[in-house]
Symmetry: C2
Subunit: 306 residues, 2 copies
């Protein structure tokens, strides 16, 4: 049976690219039968990666069959995975997020989680010398994932390993890092095609603090005016999204990649209190700028207070 | 704060030796401040390892403090760990068991789980060339752990990696593998000092099948007659142990390392049915021999049926 390799339900660049990288490794180096799949439509930056490197868009699946062999990458959280994930035959997990109680396996499997910025960085280390056999598009996907997750090394999640590996790949591929990252971020920043609800759910994780359930959404962009000009209708739509997704509040952080700051929309007093308690911000009006805030994982989630 | 490195609550050789190995690595190679600790009294084989290689017996701790930095080895199961484990600052997990939902971390940490026979084998791979700096007793502990968990390569959990690494260590240390393993197993087989209840709990894991809770206990020995001569009182004591530990049944498998078979004690009809359904055995009397059965992880737990 073909091993399905997938990331989480909101495929960003790492969750789209890493399954492609790992399926290549399993097929070409390990002699297994594997294919990358997606759990949803890739975002605009991920779509740019696919077209730029000439990679096929992986098939989108809804759920996994009982006993189906799978490898999970870029998450270990069942809430971000197919409904039947614990009935599948989980063969491996490669991730860079905190451990969340939830996944179970029937036998010991290979699990590799490291506090690096990007899943593809961990794969680079695991693949080792065999990467020399990888075609240009696989190394290209790897580079794109690392630039994406590190926001071109601006994110505080960036480690020396992520950076050194990205520089090495760029040199190997003869890619101008600055120019390429600008193209990626322009692709990510073009959110005009998305509805408000789609924007709120695009790069989003549910997180509970002392009984209050949040949908913590991030929009990384080099053109913050684009989403911020829609703030009134975004804030209106938050009510519907919160109700449909059974959370108390949607927090939208518009992350300005180039200016290294986030703007949080403040639709009500509860979010205002969250902004003040969590980030020591002084809120006036319906937005607040949080200087230096770029990472949900490292700066937003660990500080969230109600 | 000193990082405490520990294995599970019933310290066998791997759960005693691997914390010692990893604390050495963290201290001497990584420049951190770490110490091995135990969650219980080491078994007789683990005690042999300590005295043979001249290692200090690690301190035994009862629980971990909130926020205390810890590294967990040889398990990822909260039931086998200190009560307050999820309040500790878990810095890393190195294990070779199936993933059990339960542990959580506040941030991404280094987790390495591989389907190898022994935690020390994974550590050998992680330590890499730095092992050249390890003193004789650290390499000796590593070798002892691998020989213990593989039952000198007889256990079906044994992989080529475990075997190759053990041979390399034995050569490096100029140890006669066969002779050394015989000394280890003789130490493990001397169970005369233990009460029946201690024997039943010594190398034991709780496991639930369709609502029936088992304590699955294993005694690996080169002298099966020693525990089997006590079978009547062991079976009598099972009732007390089951009741005290809130399980429905205690299963005791006496694993004959040299003859590569297990003898299961059959105190009642429920265990008789388990033996028949799980292992296709024909039970007559109060014991049944299961040819080839040596591994709880690979042969007993996955087959257990009620």
């Amino acid at each position: 049976m073909t091993i399905q390799v997938f990331g989480h339900k909101s495929p960003d660049t790492d969750s789209t690219g890493s399954p492609i990288i790992w399926a290549w490794y399993l097929n070409q180096i390990k002699g297994e039968d594997a294919k990358p799949v997606l759990l949803g439509e890739p975002n605009t930056e991920a779509a740019f990666m696919l077209s730029h490197w000439g990679l096929d868009k992986p098939e989108i699946i809804e759920d996994v069959a009982e006993g189906a062999p799978v490898v999970i990458v870029d998450t270990n959280n069942p809430a971000e995975l197919p409904k039947s994930i614990n009935k599948a035959d989980i063969r491996g997990i490669i991730d860079h997020h905190k451990l969340v109680a939830g996944l179970e396996t029937k036998a010991p499997i290979e699990i590799r989680i490291e506090p690096l910025a990007c899943t593809a960085t961990i794969m680079w280390k695991m693949i080792g010398d065999d990467l020399a056999q990888a075609p240009r598009e696989i190394k290209g996907a790897m580079l794109t994932c690392i630039l994406s997750d590190t926001l071109e090394f601006r994110s505080p999640t960036t480690t020396q390993e992520d950076k050194a590996i990205a520089f090495g790949l760029a040199k190997d591929l003869d890619v101008d890092l600055k120019d390429f990252a600008a193209q990626m971020f322009a692709a990510k920043s073009d959110v005009s095609a998305f509805s408000d609800a789609e924007l709120l759910r695009m790069d989003s994780k549910e997180y509970e603090v002392d009984g209050t359930k949040f949908r913590v959404s991030v929009l990384e962009t080099t053109a913050p005016d684009m989403p911020l000009s829609r703030k009134d209708s975004l804030m209106e739509t938050m009510k519907t999204v919160a109700s449909e997704d059974d959370v108390d509040e949607v927090l939208l952080f518009v992350v300005d990649i180039l200016n290294e700051e986030a703007t949080l929309l403040v639709p009500n007093d509860r979010v205002k209190a969250v902004a003040e308690k969590s980030f020591g911000a002084t809120v006036e009006g319906d937005t607040v700028v949080l200087p230096g805030v770029m990472s949900r994982k490292k700066q937003i989630i660990p500080n969230l207070k109600v």
